[in-house]
Symmetry: C2
Subunit: 317 residues, 2 copies
Protein backbone atom coordinates (compact mmCIF):
# COMPACT_ATOMS: atom_id res chain seq x y z
CA UNK A 1 0.00 0.00 0.00
CA UNK A 2 1.38 3.42 -0.87
CA UNK A 3 2.01 5.90 1.93
CA UNK A 4 -0.62 8.44 0.86
CA UNK A 5 -3.31 5.81 0.25
CA UNK A 6 -2.64 4.41 3.69
CA UNK A 7 -2.77 7.88 5.21
CA UNK A 8 -6.04 8.58 3.40
CA UNK A 9 -7.64 5.48 4.89
CA UNK A 10 -6.57 6.48 8.39
CA UNK A 11 -7.81 10.03 7.99
CA UNK A 12 -11.09 8.51 6.76
CA UNK A 13 -11.32 6.66 10.10
CA UNK A 14 -10.33 3.15 8.96
CA UNK A 15 -9.61 1.37 12.25
CA UNK A 16 -7.85 -1.61 10.68
CA UNK A 17 -5.47 0.58 8.70
CA UNK A 18 -4.74 2.58 11.85
CA UNK A 19 -4.12 -0.55 13.96
CA UNK A 20 -1.81 -1.92 11.30
CA UNK A 21 0.20 1.30 11.24
CA UNK A 22 0.45 1.35 15.05
CA UNK A 23 1.84 -2.18 15.01
CA UNK A 24 4.32 -1.20 12.31
CA UNK A 25 5.35 1.84 14.36
CA UNK A 26 6.17 -0.49 17.26
CA UNK A 27 8.09 -2.78 14.93
CA UNK A 28 10.02 0.12 13.36
CA UNK A 29 9.05 -0.88 9.83
CA UNK A 30 10.96 1.13 7.22
CA UNK A 31 7.86 2.56 5.53
CA UNK A 32 6.54 4.17 8.72
CA UNK A 33 8.24 7.60 8.30
CA UNK A 34 6.67 8.08 4.85
CA UNK A 35 3.18 7.29 6.13
CA UNK A 36 3.75 9.63 9.08
CA UNK A 37 4.81 12.39 6.70
CA UNK A 38 1.62 11.90 4.70
CA UNK A 39 -0.46 11.99 7.92
CA UNK A 40 1.29 15.07 9.29
CA UNK A 41 -0.89 17.72 7.56
CA UNK A 42 -3.99 16.05 9.04
CA UNK A 43 -2.83 16.34 12.64
CA UNK A 44 -2.82 19.01 15.33
CA UNK A 45 -6.52 18.97 16.15
CA UNK A 46 -6.84 16.41 18.98
CA UNK A 47 -6.71 17.50 22.60
CA UNK A 48 -4.34 15.33 24.64
CA UNK A 49 -4.94 14.86 28.37
CA UNK A 50 -2.21 13.18 30.42
CA UNK A 51 -3.15 11.11 33.49
CA UNK A 52 -0.03 10.30 35.51
CA UNK A 53 0.33 8.59 38.87
CA UNK A 54 1.80 5.60 40.71
CA UNK A 55 0.15 2.19 40.36
CA UNK A 56 -2.84 1.86 42.65
CA UNK A 57 -3.92 5.50 42.75
CA UNK A 58 -6.94 4.87 40.53
CA UNK A 59 -5.82 6.22 37.17
CA UNK A 60 -7.92 3.73 35.21
CA UNK A 61 -11.07 4.64 37.14
CA UNK A 62 -10.45 8.29 36.37
CA UNK A 63 -9.85 7.45 32.72
CA UNK A 64 -13.19 5.63 32.70
CA UNK A 65 -14.90 8.71 34.16
CA UNK A 66 -13.35 10.89 31.48
CA UNK A 67 -14.38 8.49 28.72
CA UNK A 68 -17.97 8.49 29.95
CA UNK A 69 -18.04 12.26 30.19
CA UNK A 70 -16.74 12.79 26.67
CA UNK A 71 -18.78 10.00 25.13
CA UNK A 72 -21.94 11.53 26.59
CA UNK A 73 -20.98 14.61 24.54
CA UNK A 74 -20.35 12.51 21.42
CA UNK A 75 -16.63 13.25 21.33
CA UNK A 76 -14.43 10.63 19.70
CA UNK A 77 -11.90 9.28 22.20
CA UNK A 78 -8.49 7.71 21.92
CA UNK A 79 -6.78 6.12 24.90
CA UNK A 80 -3.06 5.33 25.13
CA UNK A 81 -1.90 3.41 28.20
CA UNK A 82 1.78 3.13 28.99
CA UNK A 83 2.68 0.62 31.65
CA UNK A 84 6.30 -0.21 32.09
CA UNK A 85 5.85 -2.23 35.28
CA UNK A 86 6.33 -5.93 35.61
CA UNK A 87 3.62 -8.55 35.11
CA UNK A 88 4.06 -9.17 38.87
CA UNK A 89 2.25 -5.96 39.64
CA UNK A 90 -0.66 -6.94 37.44
CA UNK A 91 -0.30 -3.76 35.42
CA UNK A 92 -0.54 -3.42 31.68
CA UNK A 93 -2.13 -6.59 30.46
CA UNK A 94 -4.85 -7.13 33.03
CA UNK A 95 -5.82 -3.47 33.33
CA UNK A 96 -5.98 -3.09 29.62
CA UNK A 97 -8.23 -6.11 29.22
CA UNK A 98 -10.68 -4.84 31.78
CA UNK A 99 -10.92 -1.53 30.01
CA UNK A 100 -11.10 -3.19 26.64
CA UNK A 101 -14.11 -5.21 27.76
CA UNK A 102 -15.98 -2.20 29.07
CA UNK A 103 -15.58 -0.11 25.96
CA UNK A 104 -14.95 -2.70 23.27
CA UNK A 105 -18.48 -2.37 21.91
CA UNK A 106 -18.16 1.41 21.63
CA UNK A 107 -16.70 2.29 18.23
CA UNK A 108 -16.09 5.86 19.42
CA UNK A 109 -13.35 4.68 21.80
CA UNK A 110 -10.00 3.46 20.51
CA UNK A 111 -7.66 1.98 23.13
CA UNK A 112 -4.03 1.09 22.67
CA UNK A 113 -1.59 -0.02 25.34
CA UNK A 114 2.18 0.19 25.05
CA UNK A 115 4.95 -1.47 26.98
CA UNK A 116 8.52 -0.23 27.12
CA UNK A 117 10.88 -1.55 24.52
CA UNK A 118 14.32 -3.09 24.79
CA UNK A 119 17.52 -1.46 25.88
CA UNK A 120 17.62 0.87 22.91
CA UNK A 121 14.62 2.78 24.23
CA UNK A 122 12.09 4.08 21.75
CA UNK A 123 8.96 4.25 23.91
CA UNK A 124 8.59 7.98 23.48
CA UNK A 125 8.92 7.80 19.71
CA UNK A 126 6.30 5.04 19.51
CA UNK A 127 3.96 6.96 21.76
CA UNK A 128 4.34 10.26 19.92
CA UNK A 129 3.69 8.56 16.61
CA UNK A 130 0.68 6.66 17.94
CA UNK A 131 -0.83 9.84 19.43
CA UNK A 132 -0.36 11.43 16.02
CA UNK A 133 -2.13 8.55 14.26
CA UNK A 134 -5.11 8.88 16.64
CA UNK A 135 -5.09 12.60 15.98
CA UNK A 136 -5.20 12.00 12.22
CA UNK A 137 -8.07 9.50 12.72
CA UNK A 138 -10.14 12.41 13.98
CA UNK A 139 -10.14 11.68 17.72
CA UNK A 140 -11.31 14.78 19.57
CA UNK A 141 -9.71 13.87 22.86
CA UNK A 142 -6.83 11.49 23.57
CA UNK A 143 -6.24 10.24 27.11
CA UNK A 144 -2.65 9.32 27.86
CA UNK A 145 -2.28 7.18 30.99
CA UNK A 146 1.19 6.64 32.47
CA UNK A 147 2.87 5.86 35.79
CA UNK A 148 5.38 8.64 35.11
CA UNK A 149 8.58 6.99 36.16
CA UNK A 150 11.07 6.68 33.31
CA UNK A 151 12.71 9.45 31.33
CA UNK A 152 10.81 8.18 28.30
CA UNK A 153 7.58 8.86 30.16
CA UNK A 154 8.59 12.35 31.22
CA UNK A 155 9.13 13.08 27.54
CA UNK A 156 5.73 11.67 26.66
CA UNK A 157 3.87 13.60 29.37
CA UNK A 158 5.27 16.78 27.84
CA UNK A 159 3.11 16.17 24.78
CA UNK A 160 -0.14 16.38 26.79
CA UNK A 161 -2.07 19.64 26.49
CA UNK A 162 -3.48 19.25 29.99
CA UNK A 163 -1.50 17.18 32.42
CA UNK A 164 -3.12 15.63 35.50
CA UNK A 165 -1.07 14.16 38.35
CA UNK A 166 -3.05 11.65 40.43
CA UNK A 167 -2.19 10.90 44.06
CA UNK A 168 -3.93 9.31 47.03
CA UNK A 169 -3.76 10.25 50.71
CA UNK A 170 -2.12 8.13 53.35
CA UNK A 171 0.52 6.46 51.28
CA UNK A 172 3.28 8.75 52.44
CA UNK A 173 4.71 11.00 49.80
CA UNK A 174 7.92 9.00 49.70
CA UNK A 175 5.93 6.19 48.12
CA UNK A 176 4.30 8.28 45.43
CA UNK A 177 7.50 8.69 43.54
CA UNK A 178 6.89 10.62 40.39
CA UNK A 179 9.80 11.57 38.28
CA UNK A 180 11.25 15.06 38.54
CA UNK A 181 10.12 16.94 35.47
CA UNK A 182 6.59 15.57 35.65
CA UNK A 183 5.45 17.24 38.88
CA UNK A 184 6.71 20.52 37.46
CA UNK A 185 4.38 20.29 34.46
CA UNK A 186 1.29 19.09 36.34
CA UNK A 187 -1.58 21.42 35.44
CA UNK A 188 -4.07 19.68 37.73
CA UNK A 189 -3.30 17.68 40.87
CA UNK A 190 -5.99 15.12 41.61
CA UNK A 191 -6.24 13.72 45.13
CA UNK A 192 -8.20 10.56 44.44
CA UNK A 193 -9.69 8.23 47.07
CA UNK A 194 -10.38 11.43 49.02
CA UNK A 195 -12.56 9.51 51.48
CA UNK A 196 -9.33 8.30 53.08
CA UNK A 197 -7.77 10.09 56.04
CA UNK A 198 -4.89 12.45 55.35
CA UNK A 199 -6.46 14.48 52.53
CA UNK A 200 -5.77 17.84 54.16
CA UNK A 201 -2.16 16.94 54.83
CA UNK A 202 -1.69 15.82 51.24
CA UNK A 203 -3.30 19.02 49.96
CA UNK A 204 -0.98 21.11 52.15
CA UNK A 205 2.03 19.20 50.87
CA UNK A 206 1.07 19.71 47.25
CA UNK A 207 0.54 23.42 47.85
CA UNK A 208 3.88 23.68 49.59
CA UNK A 209 5.61 21.92 46.74
CA UNK A 210 3.93 24.22 44.22
CA UNK A 211 5.01 27.29 46.19
CA UNK A 212 8.57 26.01 46.35
CA UNK A 213 8.50 25.50 42.60
CA UNK A 214 7.75 29.19 41.98
CA UNK A 215 5.75 30.61 39.11
CA UNK A 216 5.38 28.70 35.86
CA UNK A 217 6.52 30.39 32.68
CA UNK A 218 3.05 30.08 31.15
CA UNK A 219 1.42 31.76 34.17
CA UNK A 220 -0.98 28.90 34.98
CA UNK A 221 -1.63 28.25 38.65
CA UNK A 222 -1.91 24.49 39.07
CA UNK A 223 -5.29 23.42 40.50
CA UNK A 224 -5.94 20.79 43.17
CA UNK A 225 -9.10 18.68 42.80
CA UNK A 226 -10.34 16.03 45.25
CA UNK A 227 -12.13 13.02 43.82
CA UNK A 228 -13.51 9.64 44.78
CA UNK A 229 -13.58 8.53 41.19
CA UNK A 230 -15.12 5.12 41.84
CA UNK A 231 -18.30 6.87 43.10
CA UNK A 232 -18.05 9.76 40.67
CA UNK A 233 -17.39 12.24 43.50
CA UNK A 234 -15.51 15.34 42.34
CA UNK A 235 -15.52 14.32 38.69
CA UNK A 236 -17.67 17.26 37.65
CA UNK A 237 -15.26 19.69 39.28
CA UNK A 238 -12.38 17.89 37.60
CA UNK A 239 -14.02 18.27 34.19
CA UNK A 240 -14.64 21.96 34.83
CA UNK A 241 -11.00 22.41 35.79
CA UNK A 242 -9.90 20.71 32.58
CA UNK A 243 -12.10 23.08 30.57
CA UNK A 244 -10.69 26.03 32.50
CA UNK A 245 -7.13 24.98 31.72
CA UNK A 246 -8.00 24.34 28.09
CA UNK A 247 -9.47 27.82 27.75
CA UNK A 248 -6.46 29.33 29.54
CA UNK A 249 -3.95 27.86 27.10
CA UNK A 250 -5.91 28.79 23.93
CA UNK A 251 -3.98 31.99 23.18
CA UNK A 252 -1.53 31.83 20.22
CA UNK A 253 1.48 32.74 22.39
CA UNK A 254 0.72 30.02 24.94
CA UNK A 255 0.12 27.49 22.21
CA UNK A 256 3.43 28.37 20.63
CA UNK A 257 5.29 28.12 23.95
CA UNK A 258 3.85 24.64 24.46
CA UNK A 259 4.50 23.49 20.90
CA UNK A 260 8.15 24.53 21.10
CA UNK A 261 8.71 22.40 24.18
CA UNK A 262 6.77 19.41 22.94
CA UNK A 263 8.23 19.37 19.42
CA UNK A 264 11.77 19.87 20.73
CA UNK A 265 11.50 16.65 22.72
CA UNK A 266 9.73 14.78 19.94
CA UNK A 267 12.32 15.77 17.35
CA UNK A 268 15.23 14.70 19.56
CA UNK A 269 13.61 11.37 20.35
CA UNK A 270 12.74 10.72 16.73
CA UNK A 271 16.35 11.31 15.71
CA UNK A 272 17.73 9.26 18.58
CA UNK A 273 15.48 6.31 17.93
CA UNK A 274 16.29 6.24 14.22
CA UNK A 275 19.99 6.33 14.99
CA UNK A 276 19.58 3.42 17.39
CA UNK A 277 18.09 1.40 14.56
CA UNK A 278 21.04 2.33 12.44
CA UNK A 279 23.52 1.22 15.11
CA UNK A 280 21.94 -2.22 15.21
CA UNK A 281 22.13 -2.45 11.41
CA UNK A 282 25.76 -1.37 11.47
CA UNK A 283 26.93 -4.01 13.93
CA UNK A 284 24.82 -6.72 12.29
CA UNK A 285 21.86 -6.86 14.69
CA UNK A 286 22.05 -9.00 17.85
CA UNK A 287 24.51 -11.52 16.47
CA UNK A 288 26.99 -8.88 15.43
CA UNK A 289 26.58 -7.08 18.72
CA UNK A 290 27.47 -10.23 20.64
CA UNK A 291 30.59 -10.75 18.49
CA UNK A 292 31.66 -7.23 19.42
CA UNK A 293 31.07 -8.05 23.08
CA UNK A 294 33.11 -11.25 22.76
CA UNK A 295 36.00 -9.24 21.35
CA UNK A 296 35.88 -7.11 24.51
CA UNK A 297 35.66 -10.14 26.81
CA UNK A 298 38.62 -11.75 25.02
CA UNK A 299 40.56 -8.55 25.72
CA UNK A 300 41.23 -7.82 22.05
CA UNK A 301 39.59 -4.40 22.48
CA UNK A 302 38.43 -2.36 25.41
CA UNK A 303 34.83 -1.25 25.54
CA UNK A 304 35.61 2.38 24.77
CA UNK A 305 37.72 1.64 21.68
CA UNK A 306 35.11 -0.79 20.36
CA UNK A 307 32.40 1.81 20.81
CA UNK A 308 34.48 4.31 18.84
CA UNK A 309 35.12 1.78 16.09
CA UNK A 310 31.38 1.21 15.62
CA UNK A 311 30.68 4.95 15.73
CA UNK A 312 33.30 5.58 13.06
CA UNK A 313 31.42 3.17 10.80
CA UNK A 314 28.21 5.15 11.17
CA UNK A 315 29.11 8.80 11.51
CA UNK A 316 30.55 11.06 8.82
CA UNK A 317 33.94 12.81 8.93
Amino acid sequence: MKADEWAKKIVGGDVRAASRLMRDIDDRMPWVPDVMKALYPHTGRAYIIGITGSPGVGKSTLVDCLIEHYRARDAKIGVVVIDPTSPFTGGAILGDRIRMQRHSTDSGVFIRSLATRGSMGGLSRSTSDILRVMDAMGKDVILLETVGVGQDEVDVVHTAHTSMIVMIPGLGDDIQAIKAGILEIGDIFVINKCERPGVERMEREIMMMLELGGHRDDGWEPAIVKTEAIKGVGVRELMETIVRHRTFRESPEKKRLFLRKALRIELLNNIRDRISQRVLEEVGQEEGLLSAVDEIIAGRKDLYSKSEEILNGILCE
Copy 2:
Protein backbone atom coordinates in the same frame (compact mmCIF):
# COMPACT_ATOMS: atom_id res chain seq x y z
CA MET B 1 46.78 16.26 32.51
CA LYS B 2 47.48 13.39 30.14
CA ALA B 3 45.09 10.46 30.12
CA ASP B 4 47.55 7.86 31.42
CA GLU B 5 48.88 10.11 34.17
CA TRP B 6 45.32 10.76 35.27
CA ALA B 7 44.53 7.05 35.18
CA LYS B 8 47.68 6.32 37.19
CA LYS B 9 46.58 8.71 39.95
CA ILE B 10 43.16 7.10 40.13
CA VAL B 11 44.58 3.58 40.25
CA GLY B 12 46.84 4.86 43.02
CA GLY B 13 43.73 5.79 44.99
CA ASP B 14 43.80 9.58 44.49
CA VAL B 15 40.30 10.61 45.57
CA ARG B 16 40.50 14.11 44.11
CA ALA B 17 41.54 12.83 40.69
CA ALA B 18 38.71 10.30 40.80
CA SER B 19 36.12 12.89 41.83
CA ARG B 20 37.27 15.18 39.08
CA LEU B 21 36.93 12.41 36.50
CA MET B 22 33.44 11.51 37.76
CA ARG B 23 32.36 15.11 37.35
CA ASP B 24 33.81 15.19 33.84
CA ILE B 25 31.99 11.95 33.02
CA ASP B 26 28.72 13.64 33.99
CA ASP B 27 29.62 16.68 31.92
CA ARG B 28 30.60 14.57 28.88
CA MET B 29 34.01 16.19 28.61
CA PRO B 30 35.80 15.18 25.39
CA TRP B 31 38.86 13.71 27.13
CA VAL B 32 36.84 11.21 29.17
CA PRO B 33 36.97 8.29 26.68
CA ASP B 34 40.78 8.39 26.61
CA VAL B 35 41.04 8.32 30.41
CA MET B 36 38.54 5.46 30.51
CA LYS B 37 40.60 3.53 27.95
CA ALA B 38 43.67 3.99 30.14
CA LEU B 39 41.73 2.83 33.21
CA TYR B 40 40.22 -0.17 31.49
CA PRO B 41 43.08 -2.64 32.10
CA HIS B 42 42.87 -1.87 35.84
CA THR B 43 39.20 -2.81 36.16
CA GLY B 44 37.21 -6.00 36.58
CA ARG B 45 38.06 -6.73 40.20
CA ALA B 46 35.32 -4.96 42.21
CA TYR B 47 32.21 -6.85 43.26
CA ILE B 48 29.04 -4.87 42.48
CA ILE B 49 25.93 -5.37 44.60
CA GLY B 50 22.69 -3.84 43.39
CA ILE B 51 20.06 -2.71 45.92
CA THR B 52 16.79 -1.92 44.15
CA GLY B 53 13.39 -1.01 45.56
CA SER B 54 10.68 1.65 45.69
CA PRO B 55 11.22 4.76 47.80
CA GLY B 56 10.43 4.09 51.45
CA VAL B 57 11.34 0.39 51.61
CA GLY B 58 14.53 1.05 53.55
CA LYS B 59 17.22 0.72 50.90
CA SER B 60 19.49 3.26 52.57
CA THR B 61 19.29 1.46 55.91
CA LEU B 62 20.26 -1.79 54.20
CA VAL B 63 23.10 -0.04 52.42
CA ASP B 64 24.31 1.21 55.82
CA CYS B 65 24.21 -2.35 57.18
CA LEU B 66 26.25 -3.58 54.21
CA ILE B 67 28.79 -0.78 54.60
CA GLU B 68 29.25 -1.62 58.30
CA HIS B 69 29.63 -5.31 57.54
CA TYR B 70 32.27 -4.80 54.87
CA ARG B 71 34.10 -2.06 56.74
CA ALA B 72 34.42 -4.37 59.76
CA ARG B 73 36.28 -6.70 57.38
CA ASP B 74 38.45 -3.84 56.08
CA ALA B 75 37.03 -3.98 52.58
CA LYS B 76 37.13 -0.75 50.61
CA ILE B 77 33.62 0.37 49.67
CA GLY B 78 32.17 2.45 46.90
CA VAL B 79 28.51 3.53 46.94
CA VAL B 80 26.60 4.81 43.91
CA VAL B 81 23.08 6.11 44.55
CA ILE B 82 20.73 6.76 41.65
CA ASP B 83 17.61 8.68 42.51
CA PRO B 84 15.52 9.94 39.66
CA THR B 85 12.60 11.06 41.81
CA SER B 86 11.54 14.60 42.38
CA PRO B 87 12.75 16.83 45.21
CA PHE B 88 9.13 16.64 46.40
CA THR B 89 9.71 13.09 47.57
CA GLY B 90 12.73 14.12 49.55
CA GLY B 91 14.86 11.54 47.76
CA ALA B 92 18.33 12.07 46.40
CA ILE B 93 19.62 15.15 48.06
CA LEU B 94 18.47 14.64 51.61
CA GLY B 95 19.19 10.92 51.71
CA ASP B 96 22.62 11.43 50.31
CA ARG B 97 23.46 14.07 52.87
CA ILE B 98 22.48 11.85 55.75
CA ARG B 99 24.64 9.04 54.45
CA MET B 100 27.45 11.44 53.67
CA GLN B 101 27.47 12.63 57.27
CA ARG B 102 27.58 9.16 58.73
CA HIS B 103 30.46 7.94 56.64
CA SER B 104 32.18 11.14 55.61
CA THR B 105 34.99 10.63 58.13
CA ASP B 106 35.66 7.11 56.86
CA SER B 107 38.18 7.27 54.02
CA GLY B 108 37.40 3.66 53.09
CA VAL B 109 33.92 4.63 51.88
CA PHE B 110 33.45 6.62 48.69
CA ILE B 111 29.88 7.79 48.00
CA ARG B 112 28.58 9.32 44.81
CA SER B 113 24.99 10.13 43.96
CA LEU B 114 23.64 10.56 40.46
CA ALA B 115 20.48 12.14 39.14
CA THR B 116 18.98 11.46 35.75
CA ARG B 117 20.07 13.70 32.93
CA GLY B 118 18.08 15.65 30.36
CA SER B 119 15.99 14.30 27.57
CA MET B 120 18.92 12.76 25.73
CA GLY B 121 19.32 10.19 28.49
CA GLY B 122 22.80 9.14 29.43
CA LEU B 123 22.28 7.97 33.02
CA SER B 124 23.38 4.44 32.29
CA ARG B 125 26.56 5.53 30.54
CA SER B 126 27.47 7.83 33.43
CA THR B 127 26.77 5.10 35.95
CA SER B 128 28.74 2.41 34.11
CA ASP B 129 31.70 4.73 33.79
CA ILE B 130 31.55 5.78 37.43
CA LEU B 131 31.35 2.16 38.61
CA ARG B 132 34.40 1.49 36.48
CA VAL B 133 36.31 4.40 38.03
CA MET B 134 35.55 3.08 41.53
CA ASP B 135 36.67 -0.35 40.38
CA ALA B 136 39.97 1.10 39.13
CA MET B 137 40.40 2.94 42.46
CA GLY B 138 40.61 -0.46 44.13
CA LYS B 139 37.17 -0.63 45.76
CA ASP B 140 36.51 -4.22 46.80
CA VAL B 141 32.74 -3.87 46.90
CA ILE B 142 30.52 -1.32 45.18
CA LEU B 143 26.94 -0.85 46.36
CA LEU B 144 24.58 0.42 43.68
CA GLU B 145 21.33 1.79 45.10
CA THR B 146 18.43 2.48 42.72
CA VAL B 147 14.63 2.72 42.73
CA GLY B 148 14.55 0.61 39.58
CA VAL B 149 11.97 2.41 37.53
CA GLY B 150 13.36 3.78 34.28
CA GLN B 151 14.82 1.83 31.38
CA ASP B 152 18.15 3.46 32.18
CA GLU B 153 18.00 1.87 35.61
CA VAL B 154 17.15 -1.57 34.30
CA ASP B 155 20.29 -1.33 32.21
CA VAL B 156 22.33 -0.29 35.21
CA VAL B 157 21.02 -3.06 37.47
CA HIS B 158 22.24 -5.56 34.87
CA THR B 159 25.80 -4.58 35.71
CA ALA B 160 25.46 -5.74 39.35
CA HIS B 161 27.04 -9.10 40.19
CA THR B 162 24.49 -9.76 42.91
CA SER B 163 21.17 -8.03 42.59
CA MET B 164 18.91 -7.51 45.62
CA ILE B 165 15.27 -6.44 45.27
CA VAL B 166 13.93 -4.82 48.45
CA MET B 167 10.21 -4.81 49.29
CA ILE B 168 8.11 -4.25 52.40
CA PRO B 169 4.90 -5.97 53.48
CA GLY B 170 1.54 -4.30 53.56
CA LEU B 171 2.00 -1.80 50.80
CA GLY B 172 0.07 -3.83 48.28
CA ASP B 173 2.11 -5.20 45.45
CA ASP B 174 0.53 -2.76 43.01
CA ILE B 175 2.40 0.00 44.83
CA GLN B 176 5.79 -1.64 44.72
CA ALA B 177 6.15 -1.08 41.04
CA ILE B 178 9.48 -2.30 39.86
CA LYS B 179 10.24 -2.27 36.22
CA ALA B 180 9.85 -5.44 34.19
CA GLY B 181 13.34 -6.71 33.53
CA ILE B 182 14.55 -6.01 37.07
CA LEU B 183 12.43 -8.55 38.96
CA GLU B 184 13.63 -11.16 36.49
CA ILE B 185 17.25 -10.57 37.43
CA GLY B 186 16.76 -10.35 41.21
CA ASP B 187 19.14 -12.81 42.86
CA ILE B 188 17.94 -12.05 46.39
CA PHE B 189 14.53 -10.75 47.41
CA VAL B 190 14.67 -8.88 50.70
CA ILE B 191 11.45 -8.41 52.65
CA ASN B 192 12.43 -5.51 54.86
CA LYS B 193 10.42 -4.10 57.78
CA CYS B 194 9.46 -7.73 58.41
CA GLU B 195 7.96 -6.79 61.77
CA ARG B 196 4.94 -5.52 59.84
CA PRO B 197 1.89 -7.68 59.18
CA GLY B 198 1.59 -9.33 55.79
CA VAL B 199 5.08 -10.88 55.59
CA GLU B 200 3.81 -14.38 54.82
CA ARG B 201 1.51 -13.11 52.10
CA MET B 202 4.33 -11.13 50.55
CA GLU B 203 6.63 -14.17 50.69
CA ARG B 204 4.00 -16.33 48.99
CA GLU B 205 3.54 -13.74 46.28
CA ILE B 206 7.25 -13.51 45.57
CA MET B 207 7.49 -17.30 45.40
CA MET B 208 4.53 -17.44 43.06
CA MET B 209 6.06 -14.81 40.82
CA LEU B 210 9.36 -16.70 40.75
CA GLU B 211 7.58 -19.94 39.84
CA LEU B 212 5.71 -18.18 37.06
CA GLY B 213 8.98 -16.83 35.76
CA GLY B 214 10.41 -20.33 35.28
CA HIS B 215 14.04 -21.32 35.62
CA ARG B 216 16.78 -18.82 35.10
CA ASP B 217 19.35 -19.52 32.45
CA ASP B 218 22.19 -19.40 34.97
CA GLY B 219 20.49 -21.96 37.22
CA TRP B 220 20.38 -19.79 40.36
CA GLU B 221 17.30 -20.13 42.54
CA PRO B 222 16.51 -16.65 43.85
CA ALA B 223 16.56 -16.47 47.65
CA ILE B 224 14.09 -14.68 49.93
CA VAL B 225 15.48 -13.06 53.08
CA LYS B 226 13.47 -11.27 55.76
CA THR B 227 15.07 -8.32 57.52
CA GLU B 228 14.31 -5.52 59.92
CA ALA B 229 17.36 -3.61 58.84
CA ILE B 230 16.96 -0.73 61.25
CA LYS B 231 17.49 -3.18 64.14
CA GLY B 232 19.98 -5.36 62.28
CA VAL B 233 17.51 -8.30 62.25
CA GLY B 234 18.20 -10.72 59.39
CA VAL B 235 21.27 -8.87 58.18
CA ARG B 236 23.57 -11.80 59.00
CA GLU B 237 21.44 -14.15 56.92
CA LEU B 238 21.42 -11.58 54.13
CA MET B 239 25.22 -11.40 54.16
CA GLU B 240 25.44 -15.20 54.07
CA THR B 241 23.08 -15.28 51.12
CA ILE B 242 25.20 -12.74 49.27
CA VAL B 243 28.29 -14.89 49.88
CA ARG B 244 26.39 -17.98 48.69
CA HIS B 245 25.39 -16.22 45.46
CA ARG B 246 28.88 -14.88 44.96
CA THR B 247 30.33 -18.39 45.30
CA PHE B 248 27.67 -19.76 42.96
CA ARG B 249 28.53 -17.40 40.13
CA GLU B 250 32.32 -17.85 40.39
CA SER B 251 32.62 -20.45 37.63
CA PRO B 252 34.16 -19.23 34.34
CA GLU B 253 31.07 -20.17 32.30
CA LYS B 254 28.73 -18.27 34.61
CA LYS B 255 31.03 -15.28 34.68
CA ARG B 256 31.12 -15.25 30.91
CA LEU B 257 27.34 -15.52 30.62
CA PHE B 258 27.01 -12.52 32.94
CA LEU B 259 29.70 -10.48 31.23
CA ARG B 260 28.10 -10.98 27.84
CA LYS B 261 24.79 -9.56 29.04
CA ALA B 262 26.31 -6.69 30.99
CA LEU B 263 28.80 -5.61 28.31
CA ARG B 264 26.17 -5.85 25.57
CA ILE B 265 24.05 -3.28 27.35
CA GLU B 266 27.02 -1.11 28.27
CA LEU B 267 28.35 -1.05 24.71
CA LEU B 268 24.95 -0.10 23.26
CA ASN B 269 24.48 2.66 25.79
CA ASN B 270 27.96 4.01 25.30
CA ILE B 271 27.37 4.22 21.55
CA ARG B 272 23.94 5.73 21.95
CA ASP B 273 25.07 8.38 24.38
CA ARG B 274 27.98 9.42 22.22
CA ILE B 275 25.72 9.74 19.20
CA SER B 276 23.33 11.90 21.19
CA GLN B 277 26.17 14.29 21.89
CA ARG B 278 26.93 14.34 18.19
CA VAL B 279 23.31 15.13 17.31
CA LEU B 280 23.38 18.19 19.57
CA GLU B 281 26.62 19.33 17.97
CA GLU B 282 25.16 18.83 14.49
CA VAL B 283 22.07 20.94 15.03
CA GLY B 284 24.03 23.63 16.90
CA GLN B 285 23.15 22.76 20.51
CA GLU B 286 19.94 24.10 22.07
CA GLU B 287 19.73 27.21 19.93
CA GLY B 288 19.96 25.28 16.68
CA LEU B 289 17.50 22.72 17.94
CA LEU B 290 14.92 25.43 18.65
CA SER B 291 15.39 26.90 15.15
CA ALA B 292 14.64 23.46 13.74
CA VAL B 293 11.51 23.29 15.90
CA ASP B 294 10.43 26.73 14.72
CA GLU B 295 10.73 25.58 11.11
CA ILE B 296 8.31 22.76 11.97
CA ILE B 297 5.90 25.09 13.79
CA ALA B 298 5.96 27.49 10.82
CA GLY B 299 4.95 24.56 8.62
CA ARG B 300 8.03 24.80 6.40
CA LYS B 301 8.91 21.18 7.22
CA ASP B 302 7.11 18.35 8.95
CA LEU B 303 8.74 16.70 11.95
CA TYR B 304 9.65 13.54 10.10
CA SER B 305 11.35 15.28 7.19
CA LYS B 306 13.29 17.56 9.55
CA SER B 307 14.46 14.55 11.54
CA GLU B 308 15.70 12.93 8.31
CA GLU B 309 17.47 16.10 7.26
CA ILE B 310 19.43 16.20 10.53
CA LEU B 311 20.22 12.48 10.33
CA ASN B 312 21.53 12.90 6.80
CA GLY B 313 23.99 15.45 8.13
CA ILE B 314 25.38 12.98 10.67
CA LEU B 315 25.23 9.54 9.16
CA CYS B 316 27.35 8.22 6.30
CA GLU B 317 26.04 7.03 2.95
